[in-house]
């Protein structure tokens, strides 16, 4: 019996003939219709056979509710019409930005495109910020390889691009004494995988992690686990890319392509038609849609949502850590990483994420039940966690393929595209290594049609906006004397000065929104969540960018804060 026949039998049994599978161009294609999204996802997994097929194309229609399409910018202009470039990167998440920066080492015209008003607005700013040691990765996976290399690169790139990076290590805790045996067997495996580990008994564990549950009997410690602020890294990469002459096209959505003789000729966007020699598909949750319009689809992205919660700074323990418990997934999903508790790079506690399949690829909404679940779950590790100490929460979407691995490859059909797709966790960790490899592939591919020279002016270093509250006093005093705006505190919760906000508004990656400022200098990320500083930041944006108050937005032109002047705007003070 051939494979497709077998698969169809299984599908028939499960879905009463509503789903059909066939093979085409080396892929499994699923068609039909179902009214349960979970079933559609289940069918997708059923069709996976990595050895025989390039991938699963899941075209089963979801009939229960309309599936929202890609959210588009409301801008329509000709800003990038007829722009020719050597490389167009679609998607300015951590992957697109890191590739742009590595490519800037060559003397190329690079255009980095994103449909959002700022870089890193999707998964890259909605994750945990953990630089994974590779606890649950398997030999042979693409993600395993890049995770290991990416993790190792963080020391160097954090120095070059001046972003916060810590290696507090990760504790994987076990609740039963007999699990010590499992621990030790697993440690042998990790040893083979070159993931360093250490065994900790209960006493040591309790010393290392203040407030850990008494139920935790022992732990494996992974010293290479690290922590970054994910949007800080993404913005750093983007800034360094732009400092090195990469051009950035924001509010620009790629909606179609002209493909002729297996080559992409042009990209259609709301801001004109762009003519690249080579396209990099780093479009996150929409990577398969980009593949489709490029005539090169051989995988499907299904969106998996995860929710995280952030706690007030006062709950932070003396030392940083990342901790999780073995086998305690609140939501039983085969592909949930289980989540954990960690101290963020900005010294808050973070818990999460859970994992939930969703048909809406940009569903960043949150639900109380998810918060309750993650807190219940992580309380088993740290019983002191309290819901009332939560100051913020958010959801992110993982762009998973059914094969559950990264897709990093040249086009199968179409010649001038490189896919960097299916970059779910640990994509943040892997990004620096992926970017290095992809930039070399680009060089190789472009060398066939042009000469690719190194960029003699490339500067790998970027300076961060000074973080005055963390500086020693002398340094802070010196900076304030140079620039008195550094001595004017605007965000009281995070102690952010006017000078830092002005800096955020005048860097190589443009920023003119409240959320943009918040992600660059943390004004509005503290306990009051911008209640006090929001209006002051708005005033500063208006002044520096010379725009009226009513045009200042939260995240883009469709999310303005104000509606114009009051009737009598001769106000009190």
């Amino acid at each position: 019996m051939d494979l497709i026949h077998k698969l169809n039998k299984k599908l028939d049994k499960m879905f009463n003939g509503s789903v059909n599978a066939k093979e085409e161009n080396g892929c499994v294609i699923l068609t039909g219709s179902l009214n349960s999204w979970d079933d559609i996802v289940k069918a997708g997994y059923l069709a996976v056979n990595k050895k025989k097929y390039l991938g699963v194309i899941n075209d089963i229609e979801y009939t229960k509710e309309p599936v929202p399409g890609m959210r588009l910018p409301d801008l329509e202009d000709k800003q990038y019409d007829n722009v020719k470039c050597d490389v167009a990167i679609i998607g300015a998440g951590i992957i697109g930005c890191a590739i742009a920066r590595e490519l800037a080492r060559f003397d190329l015209d690079i255009l980095l495109i994103d449909k959002e008003h700022d870089v890193g607005m999707h998964a890259s700013s909605r994750n945990d910020g953990e630089i994974h040691p590779g606890v649950d990765l398997i030999k042979g996976q693409v993600k395993q390889k890049y995770n290991a290399r990416g993790n190792a690169l963080y020391d160097e790139i954090s120095k070059e691009m001046d972003f916060k990076f810590y290696r507090p290590g990760q504790y994987l805790c076990f609740t039963k004494k007999y699990m010590k045996i499992i621990c030790n067997i697993a440690r042998l495996y990790w040893k083979v995988m070159k993931v360093p580990t250490r065994y900790l008994n209960k006493e040591k564990l309790q010393k290392r992690i203040e407030g850990i549950s008494d139920d935790m009997e022992c732990a494996v410690f992974f010293p290479t686990a690290g922590i970054v602020c994910p949007y800080e890294v993404t913005i750093a990469y983007a800034e360094n890319a732009c400092d090195n002459k990469v051009k950035l096209a924001l509010d620009t959505a790629v909606t179609d392509m002209e493909v002729l003789d297996n080559r992409i000729l042009s990209l259609n966007t709301n801001r004109g038609t762009i003519y690249p020699k080579l396209v990099i598909n780093a479009a996150g949750v929409y990577a398969d849609k980009i593949a489709q319009i490029a005539n090169d689809r051989f995988y499907t992205i299904h969106a998996r949502k995860g929710t995280n919660a952030i706690f007030d700074k006062k709950t932070v323990k003396k030392n940083r850590f990342i901790v999780s418990a073995f086998g305690m997934s609140a939501v039983k999903t085969a592909h949930s990483k289980g989540g954990g508790i960690l101290t963020t790079a900005d010294d808050n506690m973070l818990i999460g994420p859970d994992a939930k399949e969703t048909f809406d690829r940009e569903d960043f909404s949150t639900e109380d039940i998810n918060i309750d679940q993650i807190i219940q779950k992580h309380k088993k590790t740290l019983p002191g966690l309290k819901k009332s100490d939560i100051i913020a929460y958010y959801s992110g979407i993982r762009a998973a393929t059914y094969e559950e691995d990264f897709v990093i490859t040249e086009g199968k059909n179409t010649k001038n595209i490189i896919h960097v797709a299916g970059i779910q966790s640990p994509g943040l960790t892997a990004a620096p290594a992926i970017a290095k490899d992809v930039s070399l592939t680009v060089k190789k591919m472009l060398s066939e049609i042009m000469e690719v020279k190194p960029n003699a002016d490339f500067n790998p270093n970027r300076k961060a906006i000074p973080d005055l509250a963390r500086m020693d006093e002398e340094e802070r005093d010196r900076l304030i004397k140079q620039n008195p705006d550094y001595g004017v505190i605007v965000c009281r919760c995070e102690e952010i000065s006017l000078g830092q906000i002005k800096q955020a508004l005048s860097r190589s990656v443009p920023c003119d929104t409240l959320d943009g400022v918040k992600r660059r200098v943390r004004a509005g990320m503290g306990r009051c969540q911008g209640g006090f500083c929001g209006p002051l930041v708005l005033k500063t944006i208006s002044k520096i960018k010379n725009i009226d108050y009513e045009y200042v937005a939260k995240k883009d032109s469709q999310s303005r804060i104000l509606f114009g002047k009051t009737k009598k705007h001769d106000t009190a003070v």
Binding site: R71, F364, S365, Q529, G531, Q558, T571
Partner: protein, 422 residues
């Protein structure tokens, strides 16, 4: 009023709102060398944006606007030689071995150090945010606190809403319902999860009733819609335990959600000094002199507990300022003030029986609306005072004065009780 500062003081007041202003004036009156530190450019605290009238009814027997009320104290300050430094942020406080406090200030001239014998914390409060009450759904523009809305309208002269729903019936929310209506916006309604109004009755009648704005009690906002800007909210009835009543959901189209869901004393500095916060007031516990459990650190105004009338803030702060000026380290014999569970809280939480502050104003709030009740303050079998109340509401702070000399020695508690009037 001197717009500069030296580096040693008897009293340093942190915060230049009504509490800080009154504390600084009274500390100076008793002869203390006093510094007032304010992080904003101008003095006045939250009053700067409260351009409605109704301030000062108790203090001055007249209806002043917030800025007018603040100005009254600023004028008083002008006739003192209290040193003032605005646009100055206190980032850290340490106590040295000799008991003197060392403060680190950030100013636009650089970092400054000052040394002071006593500190008055008058740092005010902040509003609870949407995240703290777990508003869920999408994350668009158009969700803001009432105080932020007030700033946009009154200070920037800008409209943050066209059609809004207000969640929470706190005073700022009620005042903003009126203000926004006057400015031509539509306030669809005010929604309150509890059975009772959160703000003052007078604000309910003057701000909602007079403008036909409906108040929906036992109803809350359960979800926000709209990806870029709010497009609608879902409201839902809740029962006594705040659980939603299924089937009562209603979608209201609007462009904004304004929150007036509570104020929290701002006490970062107190926490840095390891002062534990009272679970009921969310501020530090203090005695009748407004001295916290840490010697030499005083607290007043909304940093102590959230007041509903600025008049109470000023009168308490005057005592705090005076006591801080007279502060000398000594053993304090502190007696706790405890209360029946019918009260949400009582302050002060402690009585220092050796203090020469011989009268103590006990301020309290009830948990629920109470009618025809006696409030009695006792020390052992001794009734210090008893007072009859026709009505008490959670939103209205009440107070009652006790005589410290009447407290019997050896009794380890002062008890505030509530009973039925027979």
């Amino acid at each position: 009023m001197i717009q500069q500062f030296e580096n040693t003081y008897d009293v340093t007041v942190i915060g230049g709102g009504p509490a800080g202003l009154a504390a600084a004036v009274s500390a100076w009156e008793v002869g203390a060398k006093t510094l007032l530190v304010e992080r904003e450019e101008k003095l006045g605290g939250i009053l700067k944006q409260c351009i409605h009238d109704g301030f000062g009814l108790l203090m001055f027997k007249q209806k002043l606007t917030g800025p007018e009320y603040a100005q009254y104290y600023i004028e008083m300050l002008k006739n003192t030689d209290v040193n003032i430094t605005c646009s100055t942020f206190v980032t850290d406080i340490n106590r040295q071995d000799d008991g003197i406090f060392h403060l680190i200030l950030v100013t636009h001239h650089g970092i400054k150090h000052i040394y002071t014998k006593a500190i008055v914390l008058a740092t005010g409060c902040r509003e609870r945010s949407a995240k703290q009450i777990f508003i869920h759904g999408t994350r668009p523009a158009g969700i803001l606190t009432a105080g932020t809305a007030q700033y946009y309208v009154n200070i920037l002269g800008q409209m943050p809403v066209k059609k809004c729903v207000i969640l929470g019936s706190g005073d700022i929310g009620l005042i903003m319902a009126r203000r926004l209506t006057l400015e031509g916006a539509e306030v669809e309604g005010v929604y309150e999860a509890k059975k009772e109004l959160g703000g003052l009755l007078r604000n309910y009648s003057q701000c909602l009733m007079d403008f036909n704005i409906p108040l929906h009690t036992q109803t809350t906002v359960t979800r926000v819609f709209g990806e870029k800007r709010v497009s609608a909210v879902e409201v839902c009835s809740v029962d006594e335990n705040m659980s939603r009543i299924n089937g009562s959901e209603r979608i209201i189209e609007c462009d904004s959600l304004i929150l007036s869901v509570g104020l929290i004393p701002e006490n970062e500095l107190a926490e840095k000094m390891n002062i534990t916060l009272d679970a009921e007031t969310k501020g530090p516990a203090a005695d009748q002199c407004y001295q916290t459990k840490k010697d030499g650190i005083f607290v007043c105004g909304n940093a102590f507990h959230v007041n509903d009338l600025v008049d109470y803030v000023s009168s308490g702060a005057r005592i705090a300022g005076k006591c801080a000026a007279k502060y000398k380290k000594r053993e304090r014999r502190l007696i706790p003030v405890i209360h029946d569970e019918k009260f949400a809280y009582c302050v002060p939480q402690l009585i220092d029986i050796d203090s020469d502050q011989k009268k103590a104003d006990i301020y309290f709030r009830t948990k629920q609306k109470e009618e025809d009740k006696h409030v009695t303050v006792t020390s052992g079998d001794n009734i210090l005072i008893a007072k009859k109340y026709i009505e008490m509401r959670p939103s209205e702070l009440e107070h009652i004065q006790i005589d410290i000399d009447k407290i019997e020695y050896g009794n380890d508690k002062i008890h505030v009780k509530m009973g039925k009037v027979e």
